[in-house]
């Protein structure tokens, strides 16, 4: 049976449909201490005292620490390797002289049970002198003055933008904003740390996404060798970027376990998650586009400001860099400039969230294209089509870089995808029907957005495969799984090469003691990088098996085949085969020599390892389209239909890809219509529960209609793989904005996401 490219059921599902998932909160050791943070109630204040004696007086409290108890603990550092210029923006593990956002940790308590820890946290006496809170990034003077509120400027571009704009037929300028939002995984964050004195080992469970990188960061923070720390993920209740960015809580739990000699469990509650976990988006843009009368785009110039909150997260300036690097999307331009200003405010620090920088950039770029079409009286889809980078231009250097890496689109046939989407979804008919409904008085519209995404790249992803005597295959990876189906995808790739059922392939991930290096599961990398490494390691195992079988059977390897888990001579395809498990048995180090099999002492058994490194990431792409109806009384927008078409190079499992697209799309619908983290003028967060942060519910979203193509395999990997994790969310806001414009008959009406009913009512009032 062939596995690659088939929509097989995911291997991970079975424990999860029986309540046997091992999420962080289910793994508490029997004698663990509950850790609880005391958090600042003020957005900006000078600390006068933090007194933990009241907490310590409660029975059941084992320890309570403020900043002065921590000793010389460095602030949280960057996993991007940034040093120097960004040093001043690292978050202290506990606040010392200043608190800079509501929710900033100021003390920590450890108690015998969660309820006592919660009571004890209430007993910590915190005194502070209030300072003015800076909530608005534009006027923020956090750091002393408006200049000091800028963490850094990020700039990208090519060509003479001013000249191109001056000589173009038309120029459109827009002010566009994407509100603050959050990844909001359904499982809050958590961490369990346990010091094993017998082995002098600190064991950590919970942080997911980038286990090896997180381990190294934690090792640095607490001053222990990385090899004396094991980080292992269990089941993870969603990540979407927010989970697994090391923060004060992670360091404190480790410190607690080491100092107190007891396992420590930190389990965040939802309210805490909503002020403490990384938040995202919060970007304002002043964007200009220049075009010729025939609709050809000439130049784009975007200045944007990121509402960073009070500190940088370990991902440093990544989001500003991604925005600038990916803003051009699929279009040809003569000149381009993006200038990002990362600004401090008295809010929860922002960090990555699925589609980081691209959701924002796509919203901006596609709004600009819609504006050009409107100004010139052209069809918005036609304007897009005429500006797409052509397949013949691939690989296409885009004149910008991300970090040091030039952005070069590896492959793509954008026009073909547009055509196939138009056919599959019958978009012409759909648009006509929408127009007819509108002419009959319904406020309904259609919108479409095109985008390019980025996945994988770099190095440090590896795989080790070994086959046991029963023929069961173990694949050890340095990747992580947060619900995307990594085990299934990797098993499918390996199963075909080793000719075994994919259910016989066990994939180990997210364990720093199982393999030396790993880049986890960020930036849609796991299928691209780990999938490629798995393919290469499996091919080595296959060769090794055939060579050993050749010696055992006495037939040369090139005349052997591996089929249904057995090796047999090609000429005698009905002869009894040699099971791959038997070959593994023969290749055991104690037997291989005796049997005079080809083997090498440094790769014992039927096993092999492979590491991949890609100089450039891959660039999957797609489009989103939406039909949206607006209730002009209430301002409520309803997404009636939603489409995503995406090219992923080679879909290992189309069903899993579709699930990624659909899940991302619905997050995108939430981000377009309802999800927003608001703050009061004094910096108090308004959203502290699911009641105030409106995630989409099932009745608010249609079934997502997907088209998955593999017309443009990546030339960078043998299987042509590209990542799919962030394609669903990328274009949702942009497509829905266009559809709302059309529904209410006002081009350019939507300038601010999310388009909440209140915001849309205000727009409608302005219109009438």
């Amino acid at each position: 049976m062939r596995h690659l490219g088939r929509p097989l059921p995911r291997l991970e599902a079975s424990p999860l449909v029986s309540g046997r998932g091992l999420f962080t909160g289910s793994m508490q050791a029997g004698d663990h201490l509950a850790m609880r943070l005391v958090r600042s109630p003020f957005a900006h204040a000078r600390v006068t005292s933090v007194d933990v004696s009241g907490a310590l007086a409660l029975p059941g409290v084992v320890a309570a620490w403020s900043w002065s108890d921590l000793g010389d603990l460095p602030p949280i550092s960057y996993r991007t390797g940034d040093t120097g210029r960004l040093d001043g923006f690292r978050q202290p593990v506990l606040a010392s002289d200043l608190v800079r956002y509501v929710g900033e940790p100021i003390a920590v308590v450890f108690a015998e049970d969660p309820a006592t820890a919660e009571d004890a946290a209430d007993q910590v006496d915190f005194r502070a002198e209030l300072l003015d809170a800076f909530i608005h990034p534009v006027t923020s003077a956090l750091g002393g003055s408006s200049d000091h509120a800028t963490v850094a400027l990020v700039e990208q571009g090519f060509g003479d933008v001013e000249h191109a704009i001056a000589s173009a037929d038309i120029v459109v300028e827009l002010e566009l904003e994407v509100g603050r939002q959050a990844a909001m995984p359904l499982e809050p964050r958590g961490l369990i740390a346990r010091w094993d004195g017998a082995r002098n080992l600190l064991e950590i469970t919970g942080a997911a996404k980038i286990p090896h990188i997180d381990r190294d960061l934690l090792a640095d923070q607490i001053g222990r060798p990385a090899s004396r720390i094991v980080l292992a993920e269990g089941h993870v209740g969603g990540g979407f970027g927010a989970r697994g960015e090391i923060g004060p809580e992670d360091v404190l739990a480790c410190l607690g376990a080491l100092r107190l000699g007891r396992p420590v469990a930190w389990l965040e509650d939802r309210r805490e998650h909503m002020t403490a976990a990384p938040q995202a988006r919060g970007q304002r843009h002043i964007a200009r586009v220049a075009a010729q009368d025939d609709g050809r785009l000439v130049a784009m110039d975007v200045t944007f400001m990121i509402d960073q909150g009070a500190y940088l997260r370990p991902d440093g300036l990544r989001i500003a860099e991604l925005t600038a690097a990916m803003l051009q999307g699929p279009y040809r331009l003569d000149a381009f400039r993006a200038l990002g200003d990362v600004r401090l405010t008295n809010k929860t620090p922002a960090g990555p969230y699925r589609g980081a920088g691209r959701v924002e950039g796509t919203f901006v770029r596609e709004r600009l294209v819609d504006a050009v079409a409107d100004r010139l009286g052209l069809d918005p889809v036609a304007v897009r089509r005429r500006n797409l980078v052509a397949a013949e231009e691939m690989p296409a250097a885009r004149g910008v870089t991300l970090g040091e890496v030039p952005v070069v689109y590896d492959s793509g046939d954008y026009a073909l995808l547009l055509k196939r989407a138009e056919q599959t979804f019958a978009l012409e008919r759909l648009r006509k029907r929408t127009r007819t409904r509108r002419s009959k008085g319904e406020a309904v519209g259609f919108g479409l957005a095109f985008f390019v995404d980025r996945s994988g790249g770099g190095s440090g992803d590896g795989v080790r495969i070994s086959v046991d005597d029963t023929g069961t295959v173990e694949v050890v990876t340095g990747a992580a799984d947060l619900g995307q189906g990594l085990e299934t995808a990797v098993a499918q790739i390996v199963a075909d090469i080793l000719a075994v059922p994919y259910t016989d392939v066990r994939v180990v991930h997210g364990r720093t003691d199982a393999i030396g290096f790993g880049q986890g599961a960020e930036a849609s990398r796991s299928t691209v990088m780990t999938g490629t490494a798995a393919q290469q390691a499996a091919e080595k195992v296959r060769e090794k098996a055939l060579a050993a079988a050749a010696a055992l059977i006495g037939v040369s390897a090139d005349r052997l085949m591996l089929d249904e888990g057995e090796v047999r001579p090609i000429e005698h395809s009905d002869a009894p085969g040699l099971p791959i498990g038997a070959i593994a048995h023969a290749l055991r180090p104690d037997r291989a020599a005796a049997l005079a099999l080809p083997h090498s002492p440094d790769s014992a058994g039927l096993s092999a390892e492979a590491w991949v490194s890609l100089d450039s990431p891959t660039y999957p792409y797609g489009l989103a389209a939406a039909v949206v109806a607006v209730d002009e009384e209430t301002g409520a927008a309803t997404v009636e239909r939603f489409f995503v078409a995406a090219d992923v190079g080679n879909a290992v499992n189309p069903k899993l890809v579709e699930s990624q697209l659909a899940g991302g799309a619905v997050q995108g619908i939430g981000g377009a219509l309802s999800e927003e983290l608001l703050f009061t003028a004094t910096g108090e967060p308004v959203a502290i529960s699911f009641a105030d942060y409106a995630l989409p519910t099932a009745d608010q979203v249609p079934d997502i209609e997907c088209l998955i193509t593999d017309d443009a395999p990546s030339p960078l990997t043998p299987l042509g793989l590209k990542g799919a994790g962030e394609l669903g969310i990328n274009g949702a806001g942009a497509a829905i904005a266009a559809a709302i414009d059309e529904a209410i008959g006002t081009p350019g009406a939507v300038t601010h996401l999310p388009v909440t009913p209140a915001r849309l009512r205000a727009v409608l009032r302005g219109v009438s």
Partner: protein
């Protein structure tokens, strides 16, 4: 600390006696005292539904109910339903439709659907869609969950 109270109820078909603090919720008791961690807790605020259990045949959010309120009543959880085979059609449909990504919401949706299918095996698709809107999922986008519950309903109907 408040005083501990005795409590007797039926848990997944077995008469059970425990002692609990009056402020303990059913979710906390299940997860911490009884080590039944299949009931997950996404919010503790009664809004996500991941902690859904069945009390006397009705779906209930275990984070909003105090354990002492269970006195004399019948509680069923995902573990019990999975063990007695009564949700096999739902489990299979969830896997087939890929309605499980991270799986954190899955117990809640399965229990919610199980209660609905038990009380009305002829439940209409529209009612299923409304039912599924009660709980939150951040991964799947809901389409696969809707389809899975509809499919299981069909299978169950055929069997009855």
């Amino acid at each position: 600390m408040s005083q501990i109270r005795p409590l007797s109820f039926r848990l997944n078909g077995v008469d059970t006696s425990v002692t609990v603090e009056p402020r303990r919720t059913v979710a906390e008791m299940l997860r911490s005292d009884l080590r039944l961690s299949g009931t997950t807790v996404g919010c503790e605020q009664g809004s996500c539904g991941s902690c859904t259990v069945i009390v006397d045949g009705e779906p209930v959010r275990a984070c909003t109910l105090f354990a002492v309120q269970l006195e004399g009543r019948e509680l069923r959880t995902i573990e019990g339903l999975a063990r007695d085979g009564s949700i096999q059609a739902l489990q299979e449909a969830f896997v087939e439709e890929d309605a499980v990504q991270c799986g954190f919401c899955t117990s809640g949706f399965l229990v919610l659907a199980a209660a609905a299918l038990e009380s009305d095996p002829f439940i209409e698709d529209e009612a299923i869609d409304a039912l599924v809107s009660a709980n939150l999922c951040r991964c799947t986008g809901y389409g696969p969950i809707r389809r899975a519950v509809r499919k299981a309903a069909k299978t169950t109907r055929r069997a009855t």
